[in-house]
């Protein structure tokens, strides 16, 4: 377990260095350098997952809508 934790930590830190590229920050709070760097990496991954999530939701909504729409049209006839 400890080795696995260290492995993941190392992986995370490598990823941190790969994506170091902050932008201007707005607001009165100090976002914290470490938090800022971590956020950039997590957001990169989460953004990809979010895009897939939206994509699948749209497909699901489309599939779900199509039969009921056909049914409605049949009922009207």
């Amino acid at each position: 377990m400890k080795h696995f934790k260290n492995f993941l930590t190392a992986l995370g830190l490598i990823a941190l260095f790969c994506f170091m590229a902050p932008n201007r920050l707005y607001g009165y709070l100090d976002a914290g350098t470490g938090s800022y760097m971590v956020q950039i990496i997590i957001a990169f991954a989460a953004g990809g997952a979010f895009a897939i999530k939206i994509f699948w939701r749209r497909i699901y909504a489309f599939i779900k809508r199509t039969p009921s729409k056909n049914k409605d049209e049949q009922n009207k006839k």
Binding site: M1, F4, K5, L8, T9, G12, L13, L16, M20, A21, P22, N23, R24, L25, Y26, G27, Y28, L29, A31, G32, T33, G34, S35, Y36, M37, V38, Q39, I40, I41, I42, A43, F44, A45, A46, G47, G48, A49, F50, A51, K53
Partner: protein, 465 residues
């Protein structure tokens, strides 16, 4: 413009230069500084304020024509809807903190639809109003700048995700860490306290464990500010991931001392019914005003007050009982009851800057009426508190007191004494009446049928200084 005298600044509202809260003539106002003009106008004109207030996510306010305490900097003065009782995350149960977090993320997502974002994610921006969490900081919104990261990310992890994960996976009492750490739970501490199995949860691994490592790695380092941007999709993905991680956290209820209190009493059902009748009749004599039920358990007796449209704070020392109470209030859509955690032997102190940013329990009182039902024996015998000290404390927290005296020959008191020496020769009904009589005038006394217990209605004596 009306000039109102004697303003007092709210001691917990000074960190954000956009404005501050102040009290005047028993009303609360917020000064909006000129520096925040653009963002405030955007909040109001974009439709975001309307969208959030229509869905009861944001506190409503009205713009008023009065001069603020800092007129040179003032753009506008607003009067937000008053919150009947301010509570803090170390007084909330798991579900209350979770609902506060989900409300914050819902607001953040709605704000993005209107081109705005939250510039902070403080747990103290949430209060409970009409049984639901509501965002109270009107000045927390700012224009979203495409490419910019979320400045409140660290705060959202420290104020919401870390304490909820700790309560869920380590111990439900760990929200008490808020009493020590004003700005949320430090992530390195959360990382140590969480079980190692949470490393297998990708969201907790990244937002807490790796986040803590990242903070340590970059501590004191200056980073090169390049023009790399965080896309809107990444921004939304981050918020969505935090929200869904929190939504999946569920506390597994374990048995606690008080969890099944009402199934484990020495009362016959008719005694409980008679006690409820006495409380209702005493409460009607005490008159209107806020009620504090001290030692409320699941809030059965609190509901006698809340059902009379009296705003009732239902305090208990057991976080599971508070959770049950909150669940019931949510399920029934009750608007006049607020279940909160409270250890009466160590009530919430004043914390933060000058011990004044978050008010102590006593500073948030007194209540018009307090209930102390089946409580006195726990204070006097389990906690060695002399009756005179208990009477003194109650005189500080309420104007009217509905209290139940549980005599020594009661089986519940005998149970408390079964494992310890009886060093309480003064725990008698006569001594109780004498000591409480120094602080209160006894207005009514009634025996509970089918039990050895007695109910009292007392009115606080006016102290002559």
């Amino acid at each position: 413009m009306n000039k109102i005298k004697n303003s007092i600044n709210e001691p917990g509202s000074f960190r954000d230069p956009s404005g501050f809260l102040f009290y005047r003539d028993s009303h609360i106002y917020r000064q909006i500084n000129i520096i925040y003009k653009e963002d405030y106008n955007m909040l109001m004109d974009s439709g975001l304020y309307r969208a959030l207030t229509d869905s009861s996510l944001l506190i409503t306010h009205e713009e008023v024509d009065v001069s603020g305490p800092g007129p040179g900097k003032a753009y506008k003065i607003i009067r937000p809807e008053a919150i009947p009782f301010i509570s803090y995350p170390y007084e909330w149960c798991f579900e209350q903190l979770k609902d506060a977090a989900l409300t914050t993320f819902k607001i953040q997502k709605t704000a993005m639809d209107f081109g705005m974002t939250l510039k902070d994610s403080s747990v103290y921006n949430i209060q409970f109003l009409r049984g639901r969490p509501v965002f109270i900081d009107t000045l927390s919104f700012e224009k979203y700048h495409e490419g910019s990261p979320w400045v409140a990310y660290r705060q959202s992890c420290q104020h919401f995700l870390a304490p909820l994960a700790l309560m869920c996976y380590s111990d439900i009492r760990l929200n008490q860490l808020f009493r020590i750490y004003m700005d949320g739970i430090p992530l390195d501490l959360a990382s140590i306290l969480l079980p190692s199995s949470t490393n297998f949860n990708p969201s907790l691994l990244s937002h807490i464990h790796l986040h803590a490592k990242g903070q340590k790695h970059y501590a004191g380092k200056t980073i090169n500010m390049k023009s790399h941007k965080m896309s809107r999709m990444s921004f939304m993905g981050l918020i969505d991931n935090l929200e869904s991680t929190i939504a999946r956290l569920n506390h597994r209820t374990k048995a606690t001392e008080w969890g099944d209190y009402y199934e484990d009493t020495n009362y016959p059902p008719e005694a409980i019914e008679h006690k409820k009748e006495i409380v209702a009749s005493f409460l009607d004599s005490a008159g209107p005003g806020i009620v504090w039920d001290l030692g409320a358990n699941d809030g059965s007796f609190s509901r006698i007050a809340s059902s009379r449209s009296l705003y009732t704070i239902s305090f208990d020392i057991d976080p599971i009982a508070v959770g049950k109470n909150y669940f019931q209030s949510k399920k029934n859509g009750e608007e006049n009851i607020l279940p909160l955690f409270l250890d009466l032997t160590n009530p919430s102190p004043g914390i933060g800057w000058k011990n004044d940013e978050r008010s102590s329990l006593l500073k948030r009182g007194p209540a018009e009426t307090a209930f102390a039902l089946a409580l006195i024996h726990h204070l006097a015998i389990s906690n060695n508190l002399p009756l005179i000290k208990i009477a003194d404390f109650f005189s500080l927290v309420c104007n009217n007191l509905i209290i139940e005296f549980v005599p020594k020959d009661d089986s519940q008191v005998q149970r408390l004494l079964s494992t310890r020496e009886d060093i309480f020769p003064d725990y008698t009904r006569a001594a109780f009446e004498e000591d409480f009589g120094k602080y209160f005038k006894i207005e009514n006394i009634e025996k509970i049928k089918g039990s050895r217990r007695t109910m009292y209605l007392m009115k606080k004596r006016v102290r002559i200084i």
